[in-house]
Symmetry: D3
Subunit: 341 residues, 6 copies
């Protein structure tokens, strides 16, 4: 029986311009659906787990299309609440070389942002599950959702689930002060903390010495220090930090660090030609959750997670559609890209 | 010097599924922009007038794309206010045969719906103009916008412009009671009233005897009666009623009636194979405004308006991209569709 | 709890030329997946039932894509066997006017055609279900599959399920003689028999007096006679016959007849502008199964089934993506295709 | 050994807007290649003849693409001359309902229009051929090409080939006076004359009494009279007149008349839902040439030609891609458009 | 009030194959419009100036589409003359890696090439403007256009405008001798001269010592020498030279040099992954004109121009659609391409 | 008169996902046709030879489309046999960066795999030809086809043709043991042997010392050793080995080695940004055959072949559409990718 994992958050309609077009020249948008925790759920479903995604979507064809998109990839959508006024939207213009990708959010007033506590029966949703996952985006949606997230995380903890959180700071949704306050409360229930090279500072004011994000100069020692501080402050079992070196919108370096409170495990680093960078961090989270659930050791786990998310960068859309075998092959060292017949 | 016409209302991002796809199967949306008064402005620009469209759009690339879309067709966009949070959106699934087209609105909280009186300097905007046009959708957006519309219409009247209004009842935006109340106040300034076969009843409770919209059985006498009541109640110079016979989503009959307070002028009727029905009514408005401004008599005017909007039904998107010549040719009787080389 | 229905058969990769192109000019194919019983399962899932589709697909990304396509629309795919060499394919060129649509089959040696009895545990699959459905295509795939179908139908009968069969004669798969022999054995377990205007003659040699399919001249009396003979020979509870009048590849008349052994119920007839005719018969089956399961009487049931399949003809792809509400609206008489806002 | 047929004329790059878009809204054009005689050559190649198309194309990738397009459908392109400056272009906007299709020509200064007599070695080109075909478009391209056409037709006659000409008057290329003068000289060598309902009047001033093209009211007696006058003036063996009834850009009636100097043969008439009307007349010519070469009698020939061109109207692009079997099936009466499996 | 800038030249229909296809395999072309000075005008409009583009286009839908394309991006098109026979066309096949992009011109006989002096009223067009821009392509179109350019440049000079010229040598349009003769006369009125690494030699025989374009080995000293010679011969206020290092069709180095008669200013160099290289030089011109008009110093100006054109290489189509902010961000050093949310 | 070359093998329908999509997300496939020897034939036709491709395709529109695709590029298809049940298919998912391209074969039971000796009259097919080419894929299709290949190669040898074979080991079609046995017999007739860095070991057990394919570490000495062993065992006139260094799915190094029994000739090496890698090896074969037929010396020949295939990697589809001039330009050293106007 596949392990049940529950992810809670928002799924949005994603509208992206085709072929590197700018918004002002587009006459069609590619349509898909995505969101931090939804992307994790799809990763996990592809790895064979019983991945449940919990959210609220409006009772209209756009909401249904989001559900269908998740179902297509095997995500369990039976706990999704219906109602509210709209599905959040984000517009994406894919960058290249020195031109950055651009995201325009239109997510206010979404069904999930206006959801209410009674929309979700957490004891029922979490029954039989082994893992609960959310990101820092979810409690930022509204005070109500922050409260719902708290209930969910607490219930998960009480039921003995492992709880993970990807800090994922979004400056459009809240201030660092508000984030710090809300997230600090939530961290109480979190076992596994995932962050990128900026999140810890933005959310908790924890700085990575010796790093300058714009220039992409990352210091390992600095990130180890951040991880250590996070564990000290919140008592996490694991802290994972993704390390993106943005050479340009087309080429990135990608690696990560895992800290188990004792040792630091640095993954292999991949130099990636980017097809679609959005959802890259989420696919790391998906890889890590799977690897830890599958009983891999920390070194194996961090390498699995980084390889999984390396592959995501080559796939259009938010979702990571890779199998365990494909990830393992990359972990074993074959990044040669030879045609597989 | 081309006559200046000012249209005030909302422009939305229109996202439609290609090739008769249902929403749940689409992986791309065709992108265009449209809205009742914007569509009229494009019609008028195509007929060579100095058509100004007034609205408020957000300061982001989606708002800019809407402006660009209007500029492309020669609309004067210099009075458009910038600011607010989002551009309204509507999703369109094009029907066929017995399956109706489906519109899903996501327009709440748009920049224009949340616009404020000080966003528009009406004496400046209307200076030198000959005509002001709005629809019943605009005051329905919010109380604020209803107020702005009132200011605009009153100012237009004071400056001696002709004022036209397409009743365009939208049940998602307000109730008949609210509509009646707000619109009745606005009608004070209106010279030319445009309605479809349902609007007069929905907005003002004025019923067309002997018509049943679902079945498409329209009685001329009934509509004449409606037009007469409208003139009696509000003192319009002209009432124009479009008469759509919906045989199916693919085929419609299309004609209209013009009443100048004395005589009734019934247009020729066209049986149309529909390519895109949305914006059909607006193109009628555009045709009528142009024809009246150009000094055509009522019979000529109603036939011009109906022919213009007949052609719109064959063009994808909200906008009617036809020239005066093309309309005149159809008016003269050539609907044979022979290839023009 | 939604009623469980089990459908057994083949799902194929469907490759169709876009925009009325002929095969020899196409540089891309639209991709979807479909098959007689899979299409029924999608219809039923859209009507809210727990629709299970049972088949065998190869363990490769093409097989997985077929599964994903079913999951997207809510079909339960957990009983699908994996293995074998290939997924069957059919190529479709959509016709227009006097040019017929053309189907090229490439289905031999598919995973399901080469499936073995032990691939399916019928008592487990059918446990808790209320209905079992198959078509005449499935036993025609191979002797093995004919045997599996027999086991499935017999088990269903033993477990007290209602069993339905759409005769669906395919001349490329077997001869009338072989069909007669195999199908006659299967009919023993069938309660509800669905046929088009040709099937009864092709499979069982039962002729509809007074009908000429090419010319589309259909006689009601003739079809009543066929239905009566079918009931007499096989003891069905219901016989449903779809009546297609092919005016051209673009326009068809569509109605059906239901016989409950006592009375004949003739549905309303629809004149349809066709978007995609493939899967039209299957959507009728889906509508009929739903209607009977929902406890509708025969007249209501046949009208629901015909309206559902009328709508299918307006949707690209094999699958019917309509809701109960949409079908009911059409049944109630609104085929006017007015935009739904 | 397949009969060799030689067609001489222009092939142009055809750029058409997709999906009924108007020129001003298109961001892509569908690309194909076509022209009166090239279209006939493709028809004949599809019917299994050794169809040679003779023209001159520039020595650049656009010229080569035109050649490749012909080769794809089996046309013999080995006599095509290379050189000159450009390939002629025509832009096509496909109309619908009351909106006519629109062709914008950009064909001046093409390689063929500026070709010289020495570009073509007619005795070699025509060696072993049974038929030579040209249209009234070719001599209208330039005085030089008119001269080349004359040489070709005369050589063909001397070598015992049957010569056919489709009058095809193009008002953008020459005046009726010039056409009359040049074409009259060419008619000396012509055995089979093809015309539409306007050509005889435009080119030779021969009027069809009782017909009004715009209104589509065609009188059989009138066309018989035109055919008779043509035979009298030029001594043709056959005159074929296509009769198009343009109900709209979406629907046409289509039939033809053949006169062998003694009897009149009226074809069956087809009511066509149009996919692509351009090349419709050429596909008639191709059908007629094949039918006469295949030894069919006049009644059979005219029905074959009309059925072939009826099918063309359902195929996108200039070329008619149908087989003899497909045409024969339609001739035999099956226009029901039933799916062919 | 935004500064008025006038650009004079040709705008062409651009037809490009999608997805790196070669011409011979394309079945659709992407459609946009562009040309040296039109591209500059779009850049300037995007930077907020009142950019007027002056040309002549035919009175047909293709000409109108070119106008619409400019209007869409805010270019003032009110001085464009109408008439003539055709719009020039260029076909583009986008290269990759070792395969170069290929341009096939079909621009002879265009409306602008055949324009006459009386088509343009320069005193009116230039009234109130601050800058006039043209390229070496425009006078190469025909003797007539060379004369018109001379009138325009002289008038601009007389009215006190700054005049800029991008040398832009096109070997298909004229010989070096002719270019030298015509351009030398025009240089009399030019203040700002823009050239790429080949132009000065091709047009004026001025050689850059130590550079070999094919191999991409560029010597700074050599280009300084070229700039110095240009200033000496023609007395320019500024000479700007773009320096492209073509590693392959997919990757280029891009920088530039500005000489103000005293000092040399070398820009930062960008290594670019190319999306669309066409219009790259024009976007440099647009950036430079804006920067100088905005009062930036030479170092700032050359860096703004290079950054603007660096971004252009990442945008499909001829036009550079970037804002001042986006350029400034890149100038400030952020070429990391991080997603902007 | 162009030299006649005969290529024998399979042509398949190629279905590839657009835009780096994975199979599970595709809703359309790009359609082309290709296969080892067919790709060589297209290369040769593009180089101006009379390239004949011999195979067997089914008598249906899919088979005909494959033939048309070859004809489009000038391949002589007159010896292609018709019959059998299906055309082989391969599905292609284009990889990027660390994600490899994936090929799913569905080629069993194809017309050519089930072809019979009497389908091909080799003395007639090979009459007048100078060269016969096949690959190791063809005899692997079935024992029957192995036998037909043997007849063809022997006949070619008897008629004095040069015979070439690309070893092309396919692990899905046969085992190394079977390959060794069948291929060894065929090598008796082969003059020119082409192999990639793996084939010699897979087919004949001949190992290249010092090379590790996954890691891409290739030793020249090792490959020279392989070439020497091949000549010793089979007496080939030439052995050519292609050397691919797979840095990733997006970037490859590409070079080759030619051994004429005396000297080793190492080509220039290209670092390629890959557009489409499939058919890369075949385009090398096409380049080599052309170069040797054209009388180039070994050094020139190997450089021509490598340059030709370098360009292929930049072209979508299996076919190499380059001219002799384009290859020569690259050989001469211009890989700068500068726009060619």
């Amino acid at each position: 029986m596949a392990a049940k994992v529950v992810c809670f958050g928002e799924i949005m309609l994603r509208l992206s311009t085709p072929g590197y077009q700018r918004f002002v020249q587009a006459q069609s948008f590619d349509v898909t659906y995505g969101g931090g925790e939804a992307n994790v759920a799809v990763s996990l479903a592809n790895f064979g787990l019983d991945a449940c995604f919990v959210t609220k979507v409006p009772n209209n064809p756009i909401g249904q299309s989001a559900v269908n998109h998740l179902r297509r990839f095997g995500v369990n959508t039976s706990y999704i609440a219906r109602g509210g006024n709209r599905l959040g939207i984000y517009f994406l213009e894919t960058g290249a070389s020195q031109r950055p990708s651009k995201v325009v959010y239109d997510r206010a007033h979404s069904a999930i942002a206006e959801a209410r506590t009674e929309d979700f029966n957490w004891p029922e949703i979490l029954a039989g599950a082994r893992w609960f996952h959310f990101t820092g985006i979810t409690p930022a949606l509204s005070d109500n959702v922050a409260e719902i997230t708290l209930v969910a995380a607490r219930t998960a903890k009480e039921l003995g689930l492992t709880v993970s959180c990807d800090l994922n700071y979004r400056k459009n949704l809240w201030t660092p002060e508000k984030a710090n306050q809300v997230m600090s409360r939530l961290m109480e229930y979190v076992d596994v903390c995932i962050a990128n090279e900026e999140d810890a500072e933005k959310v908790f004011g924890i700085k990575a010495a010796g790093s300058d994000i714009i220039k992409g100069a990352l210091s390992d020692a600095g990130y180890q220090d951040v991880a250590r501080q996070l564990v000290e402050r919140f008592g996490f079992k694991y802290v994972a930090i993704t390390l993106r070196e943005s050479y340009s919108a087309s080429d990135n370096g990608w690696s990560a660090l895992l800290y188990d409170g004792k040792e630091f495990y640095k993954s292999r680093k991949y130099d990636i030609r980017i097809v679609d960078r959005v959802g890259g961090g989420d696919s790391f989270g998906g890889g890590l959750i799977y690897a830890l659930l599958a009983g891999k050791g920390p070194e194996e786990a961090i390498n699995f997670a980084v390889a999984a998310s390396c592959l995501k960068h080559t796939i259009p859309g938010d979702f990571n559609m890779v199998s365990i075998d494909e990830v393992e092959n990359l972990v074993k060292g074959d990044g040669s890209g030879r045609v597989q017949r």
